[in-house]
């Protein structure tokens, strides 16, 4: 079992040189010396394992000189057909992470840093180019671009969304009034969804996604379009999910929100992981980095980036079979 396979050097605490991983180690229950580990108890193993995930997009580009080299006939054929050359976009580069039950992990980074791609991959909406994601339960993702049926009323969309998550119609009947209340849309609940503002639609989606009490919830800037009332309610609901031995992966550009809610923060930049640690340290470092970029100190910022990548406390996965 897990105990037997544990490495000896793992059992003893190594001092944290950077201090970044102190928070991480505290998240998981501390190992009692020699005490047998309960194998399937909540919190025993990771809830989500991201195993060396990389994602490369092949996109057409109208310039830049970074095209993927192809043989001459292919190039001629593409030119004859008016198809622009293909370039490769490395959106996620070899990310390895393990998220435990009860953790609330924030993902931060500039636009185009691969946060959303990674979330799509964890949710199973996209296959990574290489690597695999393992999870103890089906992850439920709530994103900004989840579209239900625009012509359908809010109430019917809630019903459809619940059924799409495998709920029994009787159960939907039971909890529908409660969900309508969670969405707090007033009489707009009877309007077609295409008449909704983005904030109203976000409320509705949130009600649908949290209806099944998911163990693994992925939020991709899902709260950013909502008002203060909705955000508060959403945060309370997410705290509840965390208490029920679930975990939340959370993408946000609001550092205040990340600091307030997350127990751990991962910083991605152009597909690379730069930091993985406690919210205070990572968000501070990120804000300093962004300030440098905004001030035009690109060289200093890039130097900092490589320093951070070098210092990063990487996750090493070891497989073991019960």
């Amino acid at each position: 079992m897990r105990m037997n396979a544990r490495h000896d050097d793992v059992a003893s605490h190594a001092p944290d040189a950077s201090g970044l991983s102190a928070e991480r180690a505290n998240c998981a229950p501390a190992p009692g010396d020699g005490a047998p580990a309960p194998a399937r108890e909540p919190g025993a193993g990771p809830a989500v394992v991201i195993d060396h995930v990389s994602m490369i997009y092949n996109v057409t580009s109208t310039g830049g000189g970074d095209e993927v080299p192809v043989s001459a006939p292919v190039r001629w054929a593409r030119r004859a057909l008016g198809r622009p050359p293909i370039v490769q976009n490395l959106a996620v580069h070899d990310v390895t992470l393990a998220v435990h039950q009860g953790e609330f992990v924030g993902f931060i980074g500039r636009n185009g840093s691969g946060k959303s791609t990674l979330m799509n991959i964890v949710a199973g909406q996209m296959n990574p180019t290489s690597g695999r994601v393992y999870s103890v339960d089906t992850p439920v993702k709530l994103g900004v671009n989840v579209s239900l049926v625009p012509a359908l009323s809010g109430e019917k969309n809630i019903r459809l969304g619940c059924l799409a998550q495998g709920m029994h119609p009787r159960r939907v009947d039971e909890i529908l009034p409660e969900l309508v209340e969670v969405a707090a849309l007033g009489k707009a609940i009877h309007w077609p969804m295409k008449a909704y503002s983005s904030g109203m639609a976000a409320r509705l989606r949130f009600a649908v996604a949290t209806a099944t009490d998911p163990h693994i919830l992925i939020l991709d800037e899902a709260l950013s379009t909502g008002d203060a009332q909705f955000r508060e309610r959403g945060q309370a609901r997410m705290a509840q999910i965390r208490e029920q031995a679930g975990c939340v992966l959370f993408v946000s550009h609001s550092m205040a929100e990340v600091r307030e809610m997350c127990t751990r923060v991962v910083w991605l930049d152009q597909g690379d992981m730069l930091m993985d640690g406690d919210p205070e340290t990572v968000t501070e470092e990120y804000e300093r980095f962004m300030k440098q970029l905004a001030a035009g100190n690109n060289l200093a910022a890039h130097k900092r980036k490589f320093e951070l990548m070098d210092r990063l406390v990487r996750t090493e996965l070891r497989e073991m079979h019960a």
């Binding site: 990771p46 393990a98 296959n127 695999r132 994601v133 393992y134």
Partner: protein
């Protein structure tokens, strides 16, 4: 318990901190992995409530952008019948030796267009329904089935309208008990559509160009299925007739025309072709679709 910091020698010859995580991949599910066939079928059965509700509401809102709304579900087949009545019944008055040529064409077209529409929409579903797949926990075959059910409900309206049309537009067709046998034809045709759509879906998702070719192919198939003619009048070559005989969609038209226009039950060999083709295509199509389950999440 499983998360710990360990001193591991880094590549640069200096100590480096790592977090060692142990996990049991067999105790967890690989996200996006294709489940075994039995689980897949079980999950598909579990999705039945979603499939029926989804098909119903999508049919209900399918004409919401128009003024007349749901009335178009009935008006579309009615106008189709009327078109051919004007051309062949009033203007040309030709039957090419076929009794009630208007009914012959209208019934044939209604039956054939059901297949061509449904096969194309099912085969495109993995590309077109991307938005729906998000936040969706079922096997993706559930999505194809939902489209099949919606198309089948549309076709039920169309069939009802066309049968009434044949009863009220001259030359009148006498109603007969054999009309009831249209129900098994409809069921078998629906199974055929679903199977063929699933068979083509992986290819259409991988190479979207296939979808354009498919439209041409369905048109070719339509003219090869005796939409406007009775092949036994033009063809004497046994081999060519055999081609028609083993064309399941020709059999759909032939059987339904026999049942409705000639009030007779077609030979067992026609039924045998239709049953074999439908069930065969369903099994092959389902297996092919299931084998490619993971590929539908590939970025295109």
């Amino acid at each position: 318990m499983t998360s710990n910091t360990a001193q591991v020698s880094g590549g640069h010859g200096r100590p480096e901190d790592r977090i060692v995580e142990t996990f049991d991949p067999t105790a967890m599910q690989a996200v996006g992995a294709r489940p075994p066939l039995r689980t897949y079928l079980k999950d598909l059965w579990g999705s039945r409530h979603f499939i029926l509700y989804d098909a119903r509401v999508r049919l209900a809102v399918s004409q919401d952008h128009t003024l007349l709304g749901k009335a178009w579900i009935v008006l579309n087949p009615l106008l189709l019948g009327f078109t051919f009545y004007v051309i062949f019944g009033l203007l040309l008055r030709t039957g090419r030796g076929i009794d009630n040529f208007v009914a012959f064409i209208v019934l044939g077209l209604t039956m054939f267009m059901y297949s061509s529409r449904s096969v194309v929409s099912v085969s495109r579903s993995m590309t077109s329904a991307k938005a729906l797949v998000r936040g969706f926990m079922f096997p993706r075959a559930a999505l194809t089935l939902s489209i099949v059910v919606r198309d089948a409900m549309t076709q039920l309206y169309a069939l009802g309208v066309i049968l009434v049309f044949l009863l009220i537009v001259p030359p009148l067709e006498p109603i007969s008990w054999t009309w009831l046998l249209l129900i098994p034809v409809f069921v078998l045709q629906t199974i055929f559509n679903w199977g063929l759509g699933m068979l083509l879906a992986p290819a259409v998702h991988r190479i979207p160009d296939v979808s354009n070719i498919l439209s041409f192919f369905m048109r070719l198939w339509m003219y090869a299925s005796g939409i406007f003619y009775d092949p036994s009048r033009f063809v004497s070559d046994e081999r060519v007739l055999a081609l028609f005989h083993f064309n399941p969609l020709y059999q759909v038209l032939y059987i339904s025309r026999d049942l409705v226009l000639r009030a007779q039950v077609p030979s067992w060999s026609s039924w045998a072709v239709l049953v074999t083709a439908s069930l065969g295509i369903l099994i092959i199509g389902f297996l092919v679709f299931w084998r490619n389950e993971e590929s539908y999440a590939d970025e295109r």
